[in-house]
Amino acid sequence: MKLVRRAALFAVLALGHSVPARAQALPSEPIAFADGRVTIGGDVSVSAGSEDTGFFNYTDYEHSALRLFHADLTTSIGMGGHFSLLGELSTENGDHPEAYALYLRIRPWIDRPFDIQAGRVPPTFGAFGRHVYSTDNPLIGYPLAYQYLTSLRADALPLNADELLSMRGRGWLSQFSLGNREPAAGLPLATAFRWDTGVQVHAAGAIVDATAAVTAGTVSNPLFKDDNSGRQIAGRVSVHPIAGLLLGASAARGPFVSSTAARGAVGDGHDGEFTQTALGGDVEYSHAYYLVRAEAVFSEWKVPAVGAPVINTPLRALGTYVEGRYKILPGLYVAGRVDHLGFNDVTGSLGPQTWDAPVTRIEIGAGYSIQRNLLLKVSCQRNTRDGGRVTRSTLGAVQLQFWL
């Protein structure tokens, strides 16, 4: 009830912004002042759906994407032609607002498409993490690679392979004996819900764009303040040879285990050895009324071999999805996504087994624009998992999204 009241209050505040009478009833444009130097936009979405007892849709913030109130305010402050400050303040389920993004963008040469961004910067890796225009996610659920919580954690490590395998399918609340012993949510392959802190450079050409970044965290565990001695290096190249086609390749590597957890496992001075390496490939093609996207995210985490049976191989995971959207009428579309997340084998006392339970999700849905920036979505998803307390789950959800 408290959540609903907060949602209603936010909606009233957002919609109550005074604008001249227009053909549409709700404001549809960002608020700009100081001669356009300051621009404020926002997003509000409310999702209501089935109870996700298998925790298939839980996010970094331990909230289900199917039962979520999300609100954010984004701001851009231009300071001459060379500098601008960008930020986003967001809250989920009425929690304390957090700075999702806050960075300074520097353009050294006004007429050259080369930028330096410093602060809490957008993800360099992958494609999905930057899809923030509300209609960019045609469904309510998120791709598994960017949302599903594996059992692996950055602040706690398994003593041996058996302990790791005992957490299969329990990424929403995993617990290990090295480092932080409190149960907590695990890591996705690459999170879409938190941004990293560091410096990013971006150059755009007629056909090729390139981005590189040095940040405090890793793609699965972005950080505001570094908790180990290493930095992540990430890069992305995208090519758009013809209108409507985008091909992208990304790579990232950096230590992901916190100094405290690494010290607890193997002593001081080793935290830089336990790295996450991620590789990604993505393609998007659109034409007329359809849009198709496919993306693959591969991640490899090196974890210390401590007790027997030892984890004698890096932990690997591969997330792949294909999604499509087709507009059938003005303001009405249908969409679908097929998604799979797989893991490599680790040998425990009972023999080899995938270190986390593979998951497959099929989601179909539709969206209807009540007005340009007020979108109603419905979706239904079928989740199957080879492990955990709940192995099959069919979930439905409705979402109302407003943006300006």
Partner: protein, 229 residues
């Protein structure tokens, strides 16, 4: 007797009703057409639609704002003289997509007009409207391609791009030809208006003035200025 009285009353009522249905002015047959000119002054220049502050951009987006578009107002007759609705052929108009903008930002047309929406950018655009006057979605198409839309109902149509949220435009569809777009100084001229009394309205970026009466003299020019916003 009662029947006769009722019949007479009915004739009077029908006659009055018929007169009320006529355009609210007297048009002199054989008279020379006149014109209405004037200026629309904007107390405040409407701010251009800025891009949404997309914090996920990896670099500075291309600049694409042209303020002069926002100064364009439309002045039109609230209702037109009879005979103003005859059209010989289907008129055509163009609304280009150039530099991530619709050009022109304001287009005024008559009902039955076909508007072409060419894409002159290297990137995809997706023109659509959810306005009640005309709903359409042209899908995504590349540079060098164009798609047409016919507008058969009078009203205001807001046009957007599904890919670039800052792209927007207005199409004002009239059931008569008595409308005029202002120049950059706000001046307008409505030509070929038959002499008579009319109500005139000025419009700018979704804001309309009150309807103001004006008398167009035989072969002469009436002046009428507006203040908006």
């Amino acid at each position: 007797m009662i029947t006769k009285t009722r019949r007479a009353a009915a004739i009077v009522i029908v006659g009055v009703a018929a007169l009320m249905c006529l355009p609210p002015r007297a048009i002199v047959r054989g008279a020379r057409n006149g014109a209405i000119t004037g200026r629309v002054e904007l107390r405040r220049v409407p701010a251009p639609v800025e891009r949404r502050p997309n914090v996920a951009d990896l670099g500075t987006p291309a600049a694409s704002i042209d303020l002069s578009d926002r100064l364009t107002s439309v002045v039109y007759l609230d209702s037109a003289p009879r005979g103003a609705f005859e059209q010989v052929e289907t008129p055509r108009a163009v609304m280009d997509q150039r530099g991530e903008r619709f050009v022109p930002h304001v287009l005024a047309i008559t009902t039955g007009t076909i508007v072409d929406f060419p894409n002159s950018d290297r990137i995809y655009h997706n023109v659509f409207s959810l306005s009640k006057t005309r709903q359409f979605d042209l899908g995504r198409y590349a540079a060098g391609h164009s798609k047409p839309v016919r507008f058969d109902r009078a009203g205001v149509v807001r046009v957007f791009c599904d890919i670039h949220s800052h792209m927007n435009a207005f199409i004002l569809v009239f059931s008569h030809p008595f409308f005029s777009l202002t120049d950059n100084e706000g001046r307008y001229r409505l030509d070929n208006v038959p002499p008579g009394t009319y109500n005139v309205i000025a419009w700018n970026e979704g804001i309309s003035s009150e309807a103001r009466p004006v008398v167009v003299p035989d072969g002469g020019v009436a002046e009428l200025d507006f203040m908006l916003r």
